[in-house]
Symmetry: D2
Subunit: 336 residues, 4 copies
């Protein structure tokens, strides 16, 4: 059960309400986000919703039978639109395209990527400065130095920055240099990280775990929301199956299902999803056709020399064609 509290609820009204819930043996979670106050109540037994409905200070009450609550579409039918400023949004009518290298490698690389994005009217740049790597001996990213350069060039060009955050202690130092925090597949159930990201007012994109279920992804999103941050984006990036003809199995079924179950925007990552450069574009377009709110892809001036993930990274000329095709596909989807 979700209770939306009035913006002008009085402290005393709130206490009466909490007491009433307690009397009804309902476990209450008081939640304050950047937009609104809620109580998520977990009733142990069935109860008559009318016994609360008429209390003062309540705007609306919704039964939500899902395990996740605040991220469910059951109480919020309209899709969430995330505003990044400067007319860049995710979840609205326009397709959100995020592009850039797997890893930030240096200023020159940032500059030529930004140039490529500006030329193609792409508003969000991706790039990792903290890289989760299976082996401790692999390149692990440029860290804050890289991020500051990354942010500088992007902000000067009206481009928003999305980058991965790997641990709690990074959140604060990164805060001023990111527009969207990305939580990687391996951290999809790093609940402490999700807790902290719920306490800042920056959008968070959560990738589905390596073998994460739809419900687990939504539960992870619930962590962020219930900590106070409503700006959440979900991302399908391929799951682990028995098939090894591709790096991962991009699971496009997840798109319509997530859009059905949740009001949050959904992004598709075809680069990690299929992991083969020659098929990234196809899967990106299929993702748009499935109703994705955006696509995140890896592109690099010279993929063969990229520090990581070169085999799934598009050349600029390939990326350019793809941007166009994605926009045409989005137009068709809008018509349907």
């Amino acid at each position: 059960m979700i209770i939306q509290l009035s913006n002008n609820i009085k402290e005393q009204e709130q206490n009466v309400l909490l007491q009433k819930l307690s009397d009804l043996n309902i476990k209450s979670n008081l939640i304050s986000t950047q937009f609104k106050n809620y109580i998520v109540g977990i009733p142990k037994v069935d109860f008559d919703i009318r016994s609360i409905g008429n209390l003062a200070g309540i705007e609306d009450i919704h039964r939500v039978s899902d395990d996740y609550k605040l991220v469910s579409k059951k109480w919020k039918v309209n899709n969430t639109v995330i505003d990044l400023g400067d007319n860049v949004t995710i979840g609205g009518d326009e397709l959100a395209i995020m592009a850039g290298p797997c890893s930030i490698e240096g200023e020159e690389q940032i500059e030529n990527t930004v140039q490529h994005l500006v030329k193609n009217n792409i508003k969000i740049m991706r790039g990792g400065v903290y890289k989760p790597r299976s082996s401790p001996y692999a390149f692990r990213g440029m860290g804050m130095d890289g991020l500051k350069l990354f942010y500088k060039h992007c902000s000067e060009n009206g481009i928003k920055v999305i980058t991965e955050v790997m641990q709690v202690s990074q959140v604060e130092e990164m805060l001023d240099y990111v527009d969207i925090f990305q939580v990687g597949a391996r951290n999809s159930q790093n609940f402490n990280l999700l807790d902290i990201l719920g306490q800042v007012d920056k959008p968070v994109m959560i990738k589905r775990g390596m073998s994460g279920t739809i419900n687990e992804l939504l539960a992870s999103a619930e962590y962020v929301f219930s900590n106070g941050n409503e700006k959440i984006i979900l991302c399908e990036r391929g799951i682990r199956t028995y098939e090894n003809a591709y790096r991962n199995t991009l699971d496009l079924n997840a798109i319509p299902i997530l859009k059905e179950k949740s009001h949050l925007p959904v992004i598709v990552d075809p680069s990690h999803g299929i992991g083969l450069r020659q098929h990234v574009a196809t899967m990106a377009l299929a993702g748009v056709m499935c109703g994705a709110d955006g696509i995140i892809i890896e592109t690099h001036e010279n993929p063969e020399k990229a520090f990581s993930d070169g085999q799934q990274t598009l050349y600029y000329r390939q990326a350019e064609k793809l941007y166009q095709k994605m926009r045409l596909t989005k137009e068709l989807v809008e018509k349907f």
Copy 2:
């Protein structure tokens, strides 16, 4: 290695060739299809291809390093187009749409499905008369009686019939009443059935196994081809994963990969793939966007009363909208 033999190769020339291969310690498989004669040679060690190349009776020689040979794109770059007669083709420029009920249930049902198809200019009707069912106590199909009715009404209306064959002994009795034999996911590696289907001159659509790999699907197709039948269609119908938010996980990654590795046409089955009526259309369209040569969907006048698979079967009005959208999507794909 695939050796394409000349159509007018003389018996003596062929013997010389086979002897030469034997001398080179190459295991030869002489294959005669409805179109052409081939030798598939499996060399045990490296050898100089020129030592055969100049023999009489050879049209062309190709090295094919894949495990599958005749179905590989390595020797046949042009896509296979399957001609069902009456201008109905699969694998050509036009999207092949196959629609109809999960099970054939009776004459009235056949008639109203045919009417629906004619109205929408759909040229291929699906419908099962032999149904593989997990439980021996479930409805197992109308058998030959159903098939004869099914074929009668379709052929009278210029509609082609695709239906599942479950065992060797059915092939002969079904032969005159089907236009495409379908091999179901559970029989995807029923090698005896594939052998026999290679010995008839009717197209065969092979579904990917429940947890079949891309390579296994192509190897199953190789069974049919190497027995003499080049008319093969591949079908992605969802794989088994850990996720149970959907019946199966429709694996659209398979489409570009199969098109890259093989010259055979590829069909997508979104009905079994996602298994949820409200999302079948989305996945069908994504399938078209991925480059599928056709789509097979379940539709029924009254899905709620269908003998099987009702939950994933479209109402006619839903199917009609989908046909239109698929055609528009195909147009866009052609433009790209």
Copy 3:
């Protein structure tokens, strides 16, 4: 619901019973096995079991809520013991060990395997004469010629024969030369084959499918039982997962679960299960510890020269040590 009929039920009593069930809107399946007659009733709605219970000709009635009925432990608490004659049983107190090569390769190989088995007091020999192979160009077994030799040498030495049957038409010709029909993983849901095997009076061992669920395996067994054959053995042989450090993932969890859900004996196949010779013995012993009724392993005089599966086949000296260890492990399990 399972109704066990009296052995001396009169035809008229049976008709009354069937009519009564029909009146109650219960779909009846009359089943006659080599041992007994049953009616499996699938009620559409709840009903009062007492309304049938007092009818003549009924020995016992059981509610069975599982999807599978006759193979369920819910109505038959005692484990099924399969008697192969000559004091060889499966499912009783003694561990059933089945050993032999992957493929029957010739008379000499049969002879030396039989000698190895006799020496080690192993009573069941495995060996394939019909081999399901991914590639049509691979060795597909010696067929009936091989089977006749196989059976001759075994029967002369008091050894029982287990071998794979791949299709319906083979059942009759193989019947006199096998003691146990094996259904392979790829045919685990070949329902026509299961139907026919239910109509002969020979034990049938059904392997779990490549990605078969516990419930599907039991439903496949139900096909055999409901066609009239109670002599069924279940076999865990490894499932397909994302992990590729081993050929398959031997799923030992299946053993206690199958023993809990069904009265049928359960065999473990560690050779295919893990697929690595150096670990077959370990997994075999773990299988015994899990409560398996028997173990099937691949052994060969010279695994390096085996026609198939050499990498997972034990040398005789390894197999001999394993037989001993398995027997000691079984003793310990019995003590527990």
Copy 4:
């Protein structure tokens, strides 16, 4: 390549060595653990090992072709034995049994668990104070207050404490109150956490990820070792597959494989592995038979009232029988 440095290597010798490696274009990682100094060299091209072998300050050099290096058995053939003090070891001849509740719930519960362990001569107690939970609204553990009570009662009774650490910031505060840090399945690739745990001198038990591969588990262990901590324990706790007859699929194949590839001790967690109380004992015994160095199980005075995981938790009387059986099984394994 792993270079074991002499304990008395001089700084100047080390510099010569590092320079030589640099000249050979080998990326060097200098690693100092609580026991020893190593250089892990990642050569980009083949080189002649003799060109380094004769340098001063080197104890031994090993080629290790695996992706993981220091945790590989290729350079260290003897199994690692971890000494917890007070004659409690993991990886030696004795089976290490870890038992206790899923969650620490309060002092009384701790006391009666300790009593149960003392009575049964169990030397390691498990119990969670930081609990990773899918839902933010679920009980998340007693935290440091619980841990201090937990440690107090255990240390007073000669019992070692193993408990889960979820994030970097907890390591320091927990350090004095744990004997083994446990890294949960969801944090199996939380590389920052692994880094930090490599910098303390306390044993670390790493659970295999939800769908973690063998290689990924070993790479995670490499993170800890390469940061300076050699005291690492691996734990198989069930993987995610398509089968849902059990909570997870305990993958016992992993035991012999991990023991083959690595010198680190391996623990089996049958409680999470199969997730069904009635089958935990069977899987535990199979784990011992597979060669596990120890077993971790959940037990509780009253599982029905446990705060979490009750359905897979043993009653004390069940646990007691299991301890005995495990010891008998271990004796048999030792005989083999």
